[in-house]
């Protein structure tokens, strides 16, 4: 298989995730878009690992999965805290630090 097929798929997922992070205002949806981005990175890591004939890409992907699990746990805790304080997870309204 061509290496580029995997890389293009991952690039598409990455850009979709970037769009989701920029354009969504619900906190949980932004977290889901970040998961898209991390998955694109994982596909790239494993594709390059296969391309270079090494296992290291898969090990790195496992570490990324572990970090993603930690990230989503903390992210959802923060979103819940925002919801408790403001009764809404609209990220456009979390603008206390805006000058």
């Amino acid at each position: 298989m061509l290496l580029n097929e995997f890389l293009f798929l991952a690039a598409f997922l990455f850009c979709t995730g970037v769009y989701g992070v920029l354009a969504r205002k619900n906190g949980v949806l932004v977290l889901m878009s970040i998961e898209l981005i991390l998955n694109a990175v994982n596909i790239n890591l494993i594709a390059f690992g296969a391309f270079n004939n090494t296992i290291t890409g898969q090990v790195f992907a496992l570490f990324v999965i572990a970090v993603a699990a930690a990230e989503v746990g903390i992210g959802l805790a923060i979103v819940l805290l925002i919801y408790r304080n403001r009764q809404s997870i609209d990220l456009d309204k979390v603008d206390l630090m805006k000058g």
């Binding site: 979709t16 769009y19 889901m32 898209l36 998955n39 494993i46 903390i74 990220l91």
Partner: protein, 179 residues
Amino acid sequence: MHTLTLALVNELNVGQQVAFGILALAMAISALRLVTTKNLVHAALYLTVVLAGAAGIYILLAAEFVAIVQVLVYIGAIVVLVLFGLFLTRAPIGRDQDLDNNQRWAGAVVALLLLGVLGVTLQRAFKGQHVAAKYLANHGSNTAAIGFSIFHDFVIPFEAASVLLLAALVGAVVIARRD
């Protein structure tokens, strides 16, 4: 050059291409729907489709252990966690028109430009390069090789990851508890 190897690769390629095409199409459509849908619960379900498709892609790349971990951790834990987040924040079930902010068009332009840059760069850098169809024959199975690599070459990152998970656990409890 290696005529026999190339013939074998070509034979394997047809099935792999078909599987890749189906998976990639499902993932692309689900990812687009994930960032455009008006329904929060549907977004979580589209995320599940994308993650399952990624697991399929890993299997295509002969990374079966990562595929299983992907199913366990992402689909089993993270999607459930996200659904819990949706319900605990009293997400409106059903259509909710007000999910996009007013930077939507700027975001679309940024994403399209990024896709263009990445596409041109990747095409120039890796045009015509192949992933070998049967590339791993080390230590019997992939899983054994991964275990050897983690506990041999990556022991310190592994310990750091366990400390990170502990910190995330404690941090999530501290952040989310009621005082």
